[in-house]
C-alpha cells in the first residue's frame, strides 16, 4: 500500500467532533486486564509528536489489517474521539497522502503541547477508549503486563 506524495497538499483539521478515529495498540502496551496503557495514546519524538490514526470510515478490522500488512504488530483497534483530542489541547488533522502518509490517515497533532499536557491527553484518550471498549481485538492478543 503506497501513498502518493503530495507536496502541495496541506492537512485539514477534522471538524466532526463525534468522529471516532482508529488507533492501533502494540501488544506490549496492553495490561494484564486487557486494557491499554496511556502510552498507547500519547505521541513522542519518534512520530514527531503526531499520533497516527485512521479515519472512522475505515472499519476497525480493516484498520488493523492495514497496520499488520505494513509489517507492524497490533493487539487491536481502539477509538479516539476527535472532540476529546481537541478538548485535550491537540488538533486532529486529516493528512492522508501527505509526506508519505497512507490513505485515510489522520494525525493527532500535539506539537504545541508540553510533556505534561501530552501525558494528560494520553490518559484521557485511554480512559475514554476503555469506556468505549476495544473496537477490534486481534487474534492471540498479548495481554501480559
Amino acid at each position: 500500500m503506497t501513498a502518493a506524495h503530495d507536496s502541495d497538499a496541506e492537512p485539514t483539521q477534522l471538524t466532526d467532533e463525534a468522529e471516532v478515529l482508529r488507533r492501533q495498540v502494540h501488544p506490549s502496551w496492553v495490561k494484564a486486564d486487557g486494557t491499554p496503557m496511556s502510552t498507547a495514546f500519547r505521541p513522542g519524538r519518534a512520530d514527531e509528536n503526531q499520533m497516527s490514526t485512521l479515519r472512522e470510515r475505515v472499519p476497525a478490522n480493516e484498520a488493523h489489517r492495514r497496520h499488520v500488512e505494513a509489517g507492524l504488530e497490533s493487539a487491536g483497534t481502539w477509538g479516539v474521539l476527535v472532540g476529546s483530542a481537541h478538548a485535550g489541547g491537540a488538533v486532529a488533522l486529516d493528512d492522508a497522502g501527505i509526506d508519505g502518509n497512507p490513505p485515510d490517515h489522520a494525525s493527532i497533532d500535539c506539537r504545541s503541547m508540553g510533556k505534561g499536557a501530552k501525558e494528560r491527553l494520553g490518559e484521557a484518550l485511554r480512559d475514554e477508549a476503555v469506556t468505549r471498549g476495544c473496537l477490534f481485538v486481534a487474534p492471540r492478543v498479548d495481554t501480559t503486563s
Binding site: H26, M37, G44, A46, E123, S145
Partner: protein, 387 residues
C-alpha cells in the same frame, strides 16, 4: 523378555537354578521355594525402580502393577532344581501404561544381574547401565540366596541360553551382604532449602506439593511444631500452578546430596523469594527487551539498555508493593511504568539519557523531570506524591 512358551499370553521369564547336594533329588525342597519368591521380589524391586525413574511424574507404582507381575512356578526340570517360571502377560497388558511396565520387567533380570555383580565386586563392562537402588531396595537384593547353605548356589540369567549367568555362591553372598550393610546405615538427615511454587495444599493434614525450579515435584510435610506454616503456605498457593510466588521451603531430607528429592519433611520455614508480580514484571521486561528497531514504525528504537537495567534493579522492590504495575517501552526507547490508585493514573518514565519523568494524572495533574533516582521513583510509587 525370555523366549515364549506355548501360551500366547505367557512367556518363560528368566532362568533360575539352585545348585547343591540338596537339589540333586527329584523336584526341589519345599523350603527352597522361598528362594524363588525372593528372586521374584528382587526382580520386582528392580523393575519398579526402573519404571519410576523413567516416569518421573509418578510418585508410586500404579495400582495393580505388583499383582500384574504374575510369575508362576509351573514345574521343576528333572535332574536339578530349575524352577520353570512363566509370566502371565494378560494382567499386565490390561493395565493402563501396561506396556511400560512390561518393558521394565523385560529388562529387570539383566539389570538385577548387573547390580549383583556390582555388589559382589565383580567388574562389569564399561558403559554398562546400572540402576541406582536406594539402600532399602538394596536390602531386597541382598536377601537373594539367604536360605541357601554354604555349599549351595543360586544361578540366574534372563534366558537359559545366556552364556554368562550370574552365580551367587556363598562367597558372593557374603560380599554382597557386607556391601549392602554399609549404605544401610540410615543416611544422616540433612536440612535443605528448595525453591519452587506451592501446589495442592492440604492445610489440615499439613502437607502440600512443591513444584521445584527444575520442574520436579516434591511432597512437603510441615513440622507439627509450626502450626502457623499451613497459613503461610495457603497465602502462597498457586491455584492454577502458574500465577504464584516463588517460595523457599526449608526441611529435612534423608537422601544423599545429589540424589533426587521426593519428600521434604519437618518443614520449619517457608520464605517468599519472588512475588507473583515480580515474576510478571520480569516476564514483561524480557518481552520488551526483545523489541527490535522499527517495532513501531521506521523511527522507533528498541528500549534503552540503561533504562532496562534500572527497571530490572527496581523490580524486586516494586514487586513487593502489591501494586499492579504495567511496564512498556516507548518508540523513543524509554521504559514506562504505569499504575493506578483510587482512579488516578501514575506514570514513571525512565528515559534514554538517564532522565526520569514522573506524572500524577487527573485534571490537576502534576509532573516532574529529573535525573534518574531509584529512591525517588520508589517513594513516588509508594506514596503517589511528587514532593
Amino acid at each position: 523378555m525370555s523366549e515364549g512358551a506355548g501360551d500366547d499370553d505367557a512367556v518363560v521369564f528368566a532362568y533360575l537354578k539352585l545348585e547343591g547336594p540338596r537339589f540333586q533329588g527329584r523336584g526341589m525342597p519345599v523350603n527352597s521355594v522361598a528362594e524363588v519368591a525372593q528372586f521374584r521380589e528382587a526382580v520386582f524391586t528392580v523393575a519398579r525402580r526402573m519404571y519410576l525413574d523413567e516416569n518421573p511424574d509418578r510418585q508410586r507404582l500404579p495400582g495393580n502393577f505388583d499383582e500384574a507381575f504374575d510369575l508362576r512356578l509351573i514345574e521343576v526340570e528333572a535332574g536339578s532344581a530349575v524352577p520353570k517360571l512363566l509370566l502371565n502377560l494378560t494382567k499386565i497388558r490390561d493395565l493402563p501404561d501396561g506396556p511400560s511396565w512390561e518393558n521394565a520387567l523385560s529388562r529387570a533380570v539383566p539389570a538385577l544381574a548387573v547390580i549383583v555383580l556390582g555388589l559382589t565386586g565383580t567388574s562389569v563392562e564399561p558403559g554398562t547401565n546400572t540402576v541406582a537402588l536406594s539402600p532399602k531396595e538394596l536390602t531386597v537384593v541382598a536377601k537373594l540366596g539367604s536360605t541357601l547353605g554354604t555349599a549351595e548356589s543360586m544361578v540366574f540369567a534372563d534366558t537359559a541360553q545366556n552364556p554368562n549367568p550370574t552365580v551367587l555362591d556363598v562367597a558372593a553372598r557374603i560380599v554382597m551382604r557386607e556391601a549392602v550393610r554399609v549404605p544401610l546405615a540410615p543416611p544422616a538427615d540433612r536440612a535443605i532449602t528448595v525453591t519452587g511454587v506451592i501446589e495442592e495444599l492440604d492445610g489440615a493434614a499439613g502437607h502440600f506439593r512443591l513444584r521445584a525450579e527444575d520442574s520436579s515435584l516434591i511432597q512437603v510435610r510441615l513440622s507439627p511444631d509450626r502450626p502457623g506454616l499451613a497459613e503461610v503456605a495457603k497465602r502462597h498457593l498457586a491455584p492454577d500452578g502458574v500465577t504464584a510466588p516463588d517460595v523457599a521451603v526449608t526441611g529435612i531430607v534423608d537422601v544423599p546430596d545429589g540424589e533426587r528429592v521426593r519428600l521434604l519433611r519437618d518443614v520449619t520455614q517457608i520464605e517468599l523469594v519472588r512475588t507473583m508480580w515480580e515474576k510478571v514484571l520480569v516476564d514483561k521486561l524480557t518481552t520488551i527487551s526483545e523489541l527490535e528497531p522499527g517495532w513501531w514504525g521506521p523511527e522507533s528504537v528498541p528500549p534503552d539498555a540503561t533504562a532496562l537495567l534500572h527497571v530490572q534493579e527496581l523490580i524486586p522492590v516494586l514487586g513487593r508493593l502489591d501494586i499492579a504495575f504495567a511496564i512498556a517501552s516507548t518508540p523513543e526507547g524509554s521504559i514506562v511504568i504505569e499504575w493506578s490508585r483510587d482512579g488516578t493514573t501514575f506514570v514513571a518514565e525512565i528515559e534514554p539519557d538517564d532522565q526520569m519523568y514522573l506524572y500524577r494524572g487527573g485534571d490537576n495533574y502534576e509532573d516532574r523531570e529529573s535525573p534518574f533516582d531509584a529512591t525517588t521513583l520508589v517513594a513516588f510509587a509508594e506514596s503517589g506524591r511528587l514532593r
